[in-house]
Symmetry: C2
Subunit: 422 residues, 2 copies
């Protein structure tokens, strides 16, 4: 546990902001990862012994979980035993000095531990207190467990994803968790901004289901106006053509030529200007009506050459297009590399793992878009440093050295007994 | 054009912030919609005559586009003719008084018009200047057009979405646009926060492709560690079982019982405790290995009763589950209704359309979670009020009344000639 303390301010727009992070697994940690990427100091409060559940999720790089490393880069870790008066005192000190609290327990857990939003609004009114849960802290569903897949199903996106003649598919990334995480960050930052004027914290209550609804684009309004239930369209845009995937000699790629000008340019780029003159393809509406024939005609051309040939020609002509990249191809993608979007994260061991970096490119951020691996913390790695820091800021506080062994003897602490029922 | 001016501050954490919004279609307007929902004043700068392209997108409610209404609620509209010296002067005044600029043209367009980030950083250093584009303003792809579907294909999410034995599917909502919009909001708010300390604006440069990579969860790290290309898993979680859809007598629903305790509770709730005792289902690993048989065994039970029967029993037992809701069912969803997530938006006409509300529930926001329809602006509806306001704040400025007819005679203005090439 030789990691250094990071009490010196990190660079970035959120430099000086301290986040006390009780969250685990994905939605909460992703939210605080974005804050850490922007320069906030994030102190991750973990249970003794095992810490965040994802420390046990494979695959592993030596002793380190790649899952944990991805979402906890640049954070500090401290284990607290909520049953211990000394650790409760330490937690009060941390609350005194933090700006933001983030938790993603089921509603009621933080209250039972004595750290609910109503209590903290009284004792620590400066805090932006943020909960991320399946359904939010109000309403008839608020007590129900909400996983990513539960809200993907309930919120409608699965009904829109996949092929029309196949079963609904899950979005291939945790859209439910990540959407909620991003709305959580937005809530926190808007509250931090307004706090600069009224010196008041706020309560931010994010429900994953609410966020799913907010991300359904025009689907609700279309149903409200037309009375037709929106459904799956596979790979195409329901009202634009060509706007879908096409087979080249060596695989499928996407062409988006949803207006007449782009269709003309596309036909030229494919070396088949006559395509744009066919009566049945003259307008977008006609192309949508005759989509099957359009796809057949285009694939008769694209199937003759490899994908890159067509992509080069279409890019040259300014027609939006793309290969359907598999994940392995992202690591060598020239644009992602140029934008420093592939970063290395280290855990306790020496071996780094590569993952996506911070997509918010800012003038003030150039110094924090790192060239060196960002580190995810060993469990409780920052306890000593945080204790020393609290001592330095207030001589009256006498810390106790507390290592994992002490508490393993006393069994799981109350914080995470409650949490494990989540 | 009887809409009133909204120069009085709106409630909400971003009250007092003014956004000058040059963006159109989806990613930019969604970004500024979130800002407006949080209390910012958003002045939408539109081209004369036609305005935002989406004003012409169906379906329509009377004269109003439902698409436009959804993402432009609560904004003001002004049309500007960039070729007119008077309107350029007006634009300078608006830049003087705004805090944030948002644009989603292709890189280079704003520079050619004379409002690029480098120029504004000199003349208006207080502004948070935000660009959202397909690939960002640097790197070898920066000049290429990037639509939602292009970055969904290029960024990897399509390779992960759909059924393993079928073609890749598009995420059924514009994940590429909306993800970039949310990271854009995060960038803007972090810059507004840091501006309260150093009185400096910032440049925020969001590339949709970068955001796609950032939303790939652990897929990159898993490939980096294991060397196996992640692929589509249809409706299930690749390493948890049961964590997928099941057929009831009247349709499919989701059960997420990814640990032994939940599996036991599920078996009880389905009235089949013996399921949990089967040797082949004793651990999650075994259940993943024997997934096909597990699904068959569970569906032999769930197929005997309607979905709601099982959902009630599973909810009672605390097992995460959900119906696969179609969009129509969201309008009557008790949780979404209790959380005020279905809101009404009006345009120029009287008829409102229902869409999803603001998912960021905050203590300071209760007053802005509206009971009455939010209004999307008629094109140029706020020109007179904005001119009067600028007059009042500076007597020396002599505005010109400018209606659509004036400019239709002179042809499309330079701003949107450039834009239409995007």
């Amino acid at each position: 546990m030789a990691q250094t303390n990071e009490t010196e301010k990190k660079p970035g727009p959120l430099s000086g902001i301290t986040v006390l992070d009780f969250s685990r697994v994905l939605a909460g940690p992703y939210c605080t990862m974005v804050l850490a990427d922007l320069g906030a100091r994030v102190i991750k409060v973990e249970r003794f012994g095992t810490g965040d559940d994802t420390r046990a999720f494979g695959p592993f790089v030596g002793v380190d979980s790649a899952y944990f490393m991805c979402f906890n880069r640049g954070k500090e870790s401290i284990s607290l035993d909520i049953k211990s008066p000394r650790d409760r005192e330490l937690l009060e000190r941390l609350l005194d000095s933090c700006d933001v609290v983030v938790e993603n327990f089921r509603p009621g857990v933080m209250e039972r531990l004595g750290y609910g939003p109503e209590r903290l609004a009284k004792t620590h009114p400066h805090i932006v207190y943020t909960s991320i849960s399946g359904f939010g802290h109000s309403g008839p569903f608020s007590e129900l467990p909400g996983y990513d897949m539960v809200v993907q199903a309930m919120g409608g996106v699965m009904s829109l994803t996949g092929w029309p003649d196949e079963e609904p598919a899950r979005v291939g990334t945790s859209f439910g968790d990540l959407g909620a995480a991003l709305f959580g960050v937005v809530g926190i930052l808007s509250a931090l901004y307004s706090r600069t004027r009224d010196a008041q914290g706020a309560r931010v209550d994010i429900g994953m289901l609410d966020c799913q609804a907010a991300l359904m684009e025009t689907a609700l309004a279309r149903y409200d106006v037309e009375g037709v239930v929106p459904t799956r369209t596979g790979d195409n845009h329901p009202s634009l053509a060509p706007f879908e995937t096409f087979m080249a000699a060596d695989g499928k790629f996407v062409i988006c030529a949803g207006n007449d000008t782009l269709f003309l340019l596309m036909a030229d780029a494919l070396g088949s200007p006559h395509l744009a003159l066919k009566a049945e393809f003259l307008t977008n509406d006609l192309r949508v009506q005759n989509r099957q024939q359009l796809v057949r005609d285009i694939e008769a051309i694209t199937g003759t050459q490899p994908m890159q040939h067509w992509i080069d020609a279409l890019n040259e002509a300014g027609v939006p297009c793309a290969p359907i990249n598999t994940i392995d191809r992202l690591f060598s993608h020239p644009q992602l590399l140029a934008r420093n979007m592939i970063v290395k994260v280290k855990g306790e061991g020496e071996r780094a793992v590569r993952t996506a970096g911070n997509p918010i490119k800012m003038s003030t951020l150039s110094e924090v878009d790192p060239e060196v691996p960002i580190q995810s913390p060993a469990l409780n790695a920052h306890r000593e440093a945080i204790l020393e820091e609290l001592m330095a800021s207030n001589g009256a506080y006498a810390p106790t050295t507390h290592d994992d062994g002490d508490v393993d003897d006393t069994g799981p602490d109350a914080l995470y007994q409650a949490a494990s029922a989540v």
